[in-house]
Symmetry: C2
Subunit: 438 residues, 2 copies
Amino acid sequence: MWEPPLFRRPDVMDAIVARQVMDLLIPDMGLRPVARCDALGAAPYSESSAFLLRPYLTASHRHALDLLSDWMTEAGMSVRLDPMGNLIGRYEGLTPGAPALLIGSHIDTVPDSGRYDGALGVMLGVECVAAFSRAGRRLPFAIEVIAFGDEEGSRFPASMLCSKAIASGVSAEALALTDQNGVTLAQSLEAFGLDPSRVAEAVRRPGEVLAYVEAHIEQGPVLESEGLPIGVVTGIAAQLRLRAKFVGTAGHAGTTPMNLRADALAAGAAGVLAVERICRDGAQDLVGTVGKFQTSTSAFNVIAGEAEIFIDVRASDRDTRNAAAEHIRQELEGIAEARGLSLEFVQVQDLPGCPCDPELTRLMGEAVEDVGVPARMLMSGAGHDAMAVARIAPVAMLFIRCEGGVSHNSAEQVTYEDTGFAARAMVAFVERLEARGL
Amino acid sequence: MWEPPLFRRPDVMDAIVARQVMDLLIPDMGLRPVARCDALGAAPYSESSAFLLRPYLTASHRHALDLLSDWMTEAGMSVRLDPMGNLIGRYEGLTPGAPALLIGSHIDTVPDSGRYDGALGVMLGVECVAAFSRAGRRLPFAIEVIAFGDEEGSRFPASMLCSKAIASGVSAEALALTDQNGVTLAQSLEAFGLDPSRVAEAVRRPGEVLAYVEAHIEQGPVLESEGLPIGVVTGIAAQLRLRAKFVGTAGHAGTTPMNLRADALAAGAAGVLAVERICRDGAQDLVGTVGKFQTSTSAFNVIAGEAEIFIDVRASDRDTRNAAAEHIRQELEGIAEARGLSLEFVQVQDLPGCPCDPELTRLMGEAVEDVGVPARMLMSGAGHDAMAVARIAPVAMLFIRCEGGVSHNSAEQVTYEDTGFAARAMVAFVERLEARGL
């Protein structure tokens, strides 16, 4: 486990960063983004006073954008709302109209959300611009901080509506999606003061976007287990969803001897352990999970005739993932055969994943080392807005350690210190991007 | 696998039985009981015309008793309805008022029942009496055929109400039980023309009952797997119900590496296989089943934080069963410890089981051999009325092979031939009881 050496204490670090960015000695670089997320963690920035819920195009979303707009302005940005409700703050470069580095994440939340999932990435963008702005420093490119209105899909049955909107537009089908009250996306945009007929204008024009970078809490336990405050994301995992159904023979738990059973629940259990074993013994970033186990009967005294397991397999590399899925299929067939059951094996979903841009990822690794942290490269098992934006620009991502890897839960926690490392790494990344040249 | 030898063809067998019981050459000894169950398999002997359902104290129960009463009378019995709605046909012995051998089973059914579970045992009692009656033969004891009104508990939330009633009476609490329409047992008895204040009169007086014998379909696959038409029941299994809950850590299926998981679903799966292995490697009649697997979350992409397995363990011998349960507890604790989870292990129910009377069981074994079938001794994994009656009389049981071991299902099947073996074995049992002396 990595421990920060003495000379990399945060106060010392601040001095190092100060040498990198003129006039930049900001003791609250980690504190302020966290405090701002906390400020947005309750009503009126939440629909509920009992827990945090900030869905897309709601009053809580509006309140959050009003406050965020002030923060962007204070940090030296000019602010606009695009036709999909994305709030965009622009910090102009040396030449007006220069292509922009986008720094973004989402401002919406799931129900009973933590305060940092999404929002922290937006606040880190603001913090990064504030550092340059305070130093009076302009870059050969603009920086735009973007707060996507929808990533979680907690209002409409779709996700990443807003990051997809800037990359590939919004379909008529998407505009007709309805929330749980039957209100369409188009109607919601209008109610928010936007013109649904103009959503195509949210799409960014070629050449406008230099790159996209997103900081996000890890939502997993890897950084914590290695004692690292931040890490560099190599890409978003390729994901397969599989369904395996064992069909045996239902029977009476009391009257059927062990040797005359074709117990589907027991076969399913063997299947679960096979998935676990194959993924544990596989490539480092391969993960496989059975999160759902379903049987045709569910009683103390009935031997289940059918059992179905729902399998999720992910890896950064698609071939690794596919090889694991094939290995799983073979093992499950062996289990079914040995136990005298039949097996139905179905692929439910294939999400191809998204590698981050290798060059930007290398720069991000150097930026992380600049602030004194070893550059731990890791896969993102969850999806992020960066996936959608990757269609129009090279992307990079930075992960921030979160306590226990807990996310989508009010117990979500980050530290000021870790967030400080992230803020300084973002600044260092911008400087390295500048140094590289356009 | 045992195959009936040529000289034991049913026709030859009938001749053998004919030599045992004077004038007894009844080619339909197997056919008639099956045909009578079939006759009772539809409306008006069922509440539904779509499937067989004959609950206690309903119109279908009444219709069935009317027909059964005719069959009992025709077989030479005097018929009465006891205060709990049990229909009792008495075939008097050599001396009026002699103690009675009770031959019985239940006439009620579960919903979508097969036609033979319970009813076949009653019809075999009638067939047995018919054989003696036709031969004009009286015994030193009476034979009473009893059709218990409730065993399955498909109307009131209790089971074996009627066999318990003749052994240990009916409590005030039982009389106050309500069906799904809020009608009490007491009200139902009245509506059936019975006097609920007299239910205590259903209890059999000491000395009245010589013994109890019950024929029943096996409801399991043992006899079929060994090619045997009938078998001798050594007792009803002692049963334990256990609940084991693994508590780990919920997590994101994509972001939590395999080595940082405390996956409760996987631990539960390992528990299922441990139960299976322990019971498979244990005593011959030990059975253990996980029929229910429940998780705190149930989604493709969530590592379950809690998983609960519901375990049923049975064996003819209570010590064997308890030792297996203790072994299971130890193994599950080992699984929890090795995986870094905690375990809650609870005993939900302890049913002590009921051995059949050794002497009567020996006689039943001889009776089975009398009709040319090896006497396969086997445990009953399911409960039967004999358990309740065992409180007041020695009991014996005979099992009849059923197709695929299937029961509580309209696919339940028995053959005329197997039922013929059962009928003749019942007759032979009565003769051996007679030969033994009282």
